[in-house]
């Protein structure tokens, strides 16, 4: 076989360039720690990596939604706690009014406290958190409970505010006034009537009021149970989202990161090939018959 000089040089150049290219590629992977540096490096993995990133972003978004819903519901929970304590105090006062209606002065004292309890309940019902009224349904920019002429009315609605906290789960992060305080006039009216009954020593009415407050307590307890259950659910969801975040990060690493051991091995192989090729080339290309003809 004839081996023309130009072929030897061409083959030598081509092989050296090829070895150098794989060495450079391995070197780049080692230097950046990344296997995917541009879409053509592995198109299928690049699509998967981008989808994975989008899912991770959604997951992190869900975590923020969980945090936000948890804050809202925790605020509602503490307001409900306060409200329940107010109801207990009111029931105690009314019971005292029923069992021990001694002097007008002491009944007036009980009635005054009931009045202030009623104001406190109205305040609780208008609880604000992060700049909005949390018991107003969707009308959260204005106070839901307003008193005109001794009658408290509800200006909110019964709308549930939902937020997505995972791929499958949507939770309600608000408690509406109706859910917590029952239909208007409800507890506010009861307390007003109780104050009046105390002043008039109307035991039958007080007994009725006591029953009504008991019913209000039950409604509040139900609402609080739902809030508690949702908070538990959110906490569980948060744990899962955190685990999923790790999974997504691991998958991203698997898709995008270079396998360093493999890349270093590849680099060494390519480096050896370059060196061996150069050494052989230096010997072969340097020799000509002309050297030996005197």
């Amino acid at each position: 076989m004839r081996v023309p000089d130009i072929s030897s040089y061409r083959n030598f150049l081509l092989a050296t360039a090829r070895n150098r290219a794989s060495a450079a590629r391995a070197n780049l992977e080692i230097a950046t720690g990344k296997r995917l540096l541009k879409p053509s490096d592995d198109p299928a993995s690049v699509s998967a990596a981008l989808n994975n990133r989008a899912e991770l972003a959604v997951n992190q978004q869900h975590q923020r939604a969980v945090a936000s819903a948890t804050d809202e519901l925790t605020a509602a929970d503490s307001a409900i706690d306060h409200y329940e304590n107010l109801l207990i105090r009111a029931k105690t006062l009314i019971s005292r009014g029923i069992s021990d209606p001694n002097s007008t002065a002491s009944r007036e004292a009980l009635a005054t406290e009931i009045d202030s309890l009623r104001q406190a309940v109205i305040n609780v019902a208008n609880t604000q958190f992060a700049g909005h009224f949390i018991f107003a349904g969707s009308h959260s920019t204005t106070p839901p409970y307003t008193e005109t002429g001794g009658v408290v009315s509800y200006d909110g609605d019964d709308r549930a505010l939902l937020v997505r906290v995972s791929g499958q789960a949507v939770v309600q992060y608000n408690v509406t006034g109706q859910e917590l305080f029952g239909q208007s006039p409800g507890v506010f009216d009861t307390l007003a009537r109780a104050a009046a009954a105390l002043r008039q020593a109307d035991k039958a009415e007080l007994q009725r009021n006591l029953d009504e407050l008991e019913a209000a307590s039950n409604i509040a307890a139900q609402a609080r149970t739902r809030v508690g259950a949702t908070l538990n659910f959110l906490s569980a969801i948060n744990d899962r989202l955190t685990t999923e975040n790790l999974t997504f990060s691991e998958r991203a690493s698997k898709l995008e990161d270079a396998d360093l051991i493999e890349a270093i091995t590849r680099f060494q192989q390519a480096q050896q090939a370059v060196e061996a090729g150069l050494a052989a080339g230096a010997k072969i290309l340097n020799v000509s018959l002309l050297d030996f003809l005197g």
Binding site: L50, N51, A54, Q61, A65, D157, R164
Partner: protein, 463 residues
């Protein structure tokens, strides 16, 4: 039997033949690195005996001509492969730029801004009356619009850059065509004068290969080693010693078109560097642009549909979130947040119609668009999925072209090696030839010396 003086003639011819051989060897050595050079060797023949002498030994050696080692089949293959090489290289160079536009892995691109946009709605759903969160939605919408517009205009810039490469290439083609025509003429003259045209043919082959790298050529050999070069759908570029010039001009589509006479060749060129540029300019980039438009357009439609069903913070019915695309305009290139919403974030319709200002139903629905399968042209999936499909398809395209380039390099190297097996110069071989002709020259000189001594002897007889 010839006369004793015939020996001098034999010796003279032998010296000439060896010298000729040495010159050709020298020429081969001189051209060891000349691309496209075909090695040569002298064609020597013995001189037949003259006259009627039965035992005639002839007049020694004579030079019949020069043999050029050339394989026409391989040359043709190399010409064809040059077009393929040009095509793949041009595509690779252009598509690598395109790929950079979609390199969302290393830079913040459309895929991140899409996530952030829908994420902003999700955040708003958690606190729909918050003005900072509303401003964040507007900002993310603007970022998304900017990302679409930037991606689109980057692609357009690449397209324009490719377009600008066309006139210089056409100029180069014209230069090469003129050179081929000139060489056709020179070859014809050399042939007519009975001179060796090998060097001219090598040069012409080089020019043809350079031309073929730019555009696929069809070659027809006519009488007297003349080559007719045609391109496109058979339009002659070189006819014997005449080149027909190509011209470029802007078409109605704002792109450079290539003309030969009145014929528009643009769509007929499907190979070579020129074909590579044209395919990326006219097929790959427009298809990506329309993919982007389809994605932008379906995002605009879906977001606006939901948004205009809702109700804003002031209780008014929602309008468009994104400014609707004007008829005839590109959705991606003109994407922007509706001016009214951008000016007043309270106009974001987070609530469903009829609900209070603090309702989040619509924001929730808009956030859920991130997980809703949309249709954008021929692709379906969530917006992020559609985009990642797009990136994947760009990646595969580039990977395919890169692989084609590697294969092509190997094919061309192999063909060149095959060609050089026939036509290339081996210095070892030439060293032997050198020695061979040198020794032959020395022997011929010696022969003349002997003949001279013989003559001397004969002359001495007469004394």
């Amino acid at each position: 039997m010839g006369s004793i003086f015939d020996s001098f003639e034999i010796g003279r011819r032998a010296l000439l033949a060896s010298q000729f051989g040495l010159q050709i060897t020298g020429r081969n050595i001189a051209n060891v690195n000349t691309p496209g050079y075909s090695r040569q060797s002298p064609e020597l023949v013995p001189v037949p005996p003259e006259g009627y002498f039965k035992l005639g030994i002839g007049g020694g050696v004579s030079i019949a001509g020069i043999h050029t080692f050339r394989d026409k089949f391989l040359e043709t293959r190399l010409t064809t492969e040059a077009s393929q090489t040009g095509l793949f290289q041009a595509q690779r160079d252009a598509l690598r730029q395109v790929e950079q536009v979609f390199n969302d892995l290393s830079t913040t691109g459309l895929s991140d801004t899409l996530s952030q946009f829908f994420g902003a709605f999700s955040e708003l759903a958690s606190n729909p009356t918050s003005l900072p969160l509303r401003t964040n939605v507007v900002q993310s919408g603007q970022n998304l619009a900017t990302a679409f517009r930037t991606t689109y205009s980057q692609l357009q810039n690449i397209e324009r850059g490719l377009d600008a490469q066309i006139p210089p290439i056409v100029q180069q083609m014209n230069d090469l065509a003129s050179e081929i025509a000139r060489l056709n003429g020179d070859i014809s003259i050399a042939r007519g004068a009975g001179r060796d045209a090998s060097a001219l043919i090598d040069q012409r082959q080089q020019a043809i290969n350079q031309l073929a790298e730019l555009v696929p050529v069809q070659l027809t050999e006519t009488e007297g080693d003349q080559l007719t070069v045609s391109i496109g759908t058979g339009q002659a570029l070189v006819l014997s010693n005449r080149a027909i010039p190509l011209a470029t001009s802007f078409g109605a589509d704002g792109k450079t078109h290539i003309f030969i006479g009145q014929t528009d060749l643009t769509s007929a060129i499907d190979g070579g560097r020129l074909g590579g540029l044209l395919s990326v300019r006219d097929q790959h980039i427009p298809s990506l642009l329309s993919d982007l438009d389809n994605l932008a357009s379906s995002v605009i439609t879906e977001v606006n549909r939901l948004h205009s069903n809702g109700q804003d913070l002031t209780g008014a019915a929602g309008g468009n979130f994104f400014a609707p695309t004007n008829a005839g305009s590109s959705a991606a290139a003109t994407l922007s947040v509706d001016a009214a919403v951008a000016a007043d974030p309270r106009k974001i319709a987070a609530a469903t119609a009829g609900a209070g200002a603090g309702d989040n139903t619509n924001a929730h629905a808009l956030a859920d668009l991130a997980r809703t399968a949309l249709t954008a042209g021929s692709r379906t999936g969530t917006p992020a999925e559609i985009y990642s499909q797009l990136v994947g398809s760009v990646g595969s395209l580039v990977a395919t072209v890169e692989a084609a380039n590697k294969t092509q390099d190997a094919i061309v190297a192999q063909l060149n090696n095959q060609r050089d097996q026939v036509s290339g110069v081996s210095l070892d071989e030439e060293a032997i030839s050198l020695l061979q002709y040198q020794r032959a020259f020395q022997a011929a000189a010696r022969f003349i010396n002997v003949a001279s001594q013989l003559t001397q002897t004969v002359l001495e007889l007469a004394q």
